[in-house]
Symmetry: C2
Subunit: 260 residues, 2 copies
């Protein structure tokens, strides 16, 4: 069954290009988004509320103009596989959820969605085929309203220059920016060197890495086929590994110890 303007296979292709691979949740999500769109009055200027961080936001971004960067899509992670499209002025909208009571005919979908078996026992081809055949029949739908207080956009207000990092930030955040208040989830590399006093990591061309141990896993992603580690941390690299690494576009590696 088609997903909006796309055939199922076209949407799989678009999903792989945007998301890295055609994840089952993204394919189901495509049907969910199109179902919600079809129930809004024609021409409605709508925004989106997504209740899961997994896959579903990308279905919205692929099939509507709502995105995280333009603020027309909000992700409120409630851990439920559901989304709402609503009129941005009135808040009136349609909520679509993947309904656990509608999965009896589709054993692979049920097993995947409710995590009834380990991922490696899933039959991906059959799962994707069930999703294609089931289409929007897996969904339940209800009319909802998103109240004005949730639709309001936060205003950034005046801009200040942070006296610590020198960057621009919303002045109402305080005397220094929130990054410099301790919320930044990274460390500067020079500071880290000071703190750990360890050697600085550097990348080594793969041609010089044979016989040395990999510092970390290296994953090979072939869209819709595999995303398993090709090399695992601590594994001694063979000439064959290096060919594979180069074929997947990895020309430099990090090694254990001071091998380089």
């Amino acid at each position: 069954m088609n997903i909006g303007p796309y055939t199922f296979d076209e949407f799989k292709q678009k999903a792989a290009e945007f998301h890295g691979y055609a994840a089952p949740g993204l394919l189901v999500g495509g049907y969910m988004v199109e179902l919600a769109k079809s129930r809004l009055p024609q021409g409605t200027l709508f925004e989106a509320l997504v209740e899961s961080q997994k896959c579903l936001p990308d279905a919205v971004q692929l099939l509507t103009l709502c995105s995280v960067g333009n603020g027309w899509m909000k992700v409120v992670n409630l851990g439920r596989y559901a989304l709402t499209l609503y009129d941005k002025f009135t808040g009136l909208g349609v909520r679509v959820a993947l309904d656990p009571t509608k999965l009896e005919m589709w054993p692979e979908i049920k097993g995947w969605y409710l995590k009834l078996k380990p991922k490696k026992e899933q039959d991906t081809d059959r799962l994707v085929d069930e999703i294609r055949r089931a289409g929007p029949s897996l969904c339940s739908m209800e009319e909802v309203v998103v109240p004005e207080r949730f639709r309001r956009k936060a205003q950034m207000g005046a801009i200040g220059l942070c006296p610590v990092c020198g960057e621009a930030y919303p002045a109402h955040d305080g005397g220094v920016c929130r990054g410099c208040q301790g919320e930044a989830p990274y460390e500067r590399l020079d500071q880290r060197q000071d703190m750990t006093d360890g050697p600085r990591l550097r990348a080594v061309p793969v041609g010089q890495a044979v016989g040395h141990k990999a510092l970390h896993d290296m994953t090979r992603i072939v869209p819709a086929e595999t995303k398993d580690p090709l090399v695992q941390a601590g594994q001694t690299l063979s000439p064959g590994d290096l060919c594979e690494l180069q074929r997947m576009g990895r020309f430099e590696v990090y090694l254990e110890g001071d091998a380089a």
Copy 2:
């Protein structure tokens, strides 16, 4: 100057298709993402950390495989216009920020970024042209490391069925899902009817709306040209308004009172 594989005009077009319009922040963001990519060792499997919710996440999503739905992009809103691309295994990466000290040559960019003048006084054409000419020269860059605790993916764990709403949810959220614990930012329409006892809104074909008052603003978006309200709340609709509404794809409207 080109933005990765795109000419500036091609990227503007892609930005408009994905984001609704070619926002200045998205165009600057394109240069920022490409600068960070160019400093990672070739073949690095990287993830992204974005410090602003505005525009910048969409630049990452347009120019990398990192997205909000595949979890390879995280938005930690610190209110700073900066992003980090980092090796997903080691955390080593490059942080690129839009640097306020590099704006002296570019008065429109400076005025826009530091909000030195009201939006309606901005000269958008000149702003976009300055962005095109300045390219990545507006950016500062530093090496950072994203520690393992921030790179770790949250595990969803076992799935339960919520006894209130019946939907699937992460069992570790508690006895009922977080939506039913009161975190859902919407109300069911039937419940709301019970609560307000007001009339139910319904859409009216535009052809029947002449002479009635619009219930809410209706915005006309022409990518890269305008996103101003065509009709404002309370405005009496003229036949001319209706033509414009139909031309922008709006065939039904909500009206004040019980006009329909």
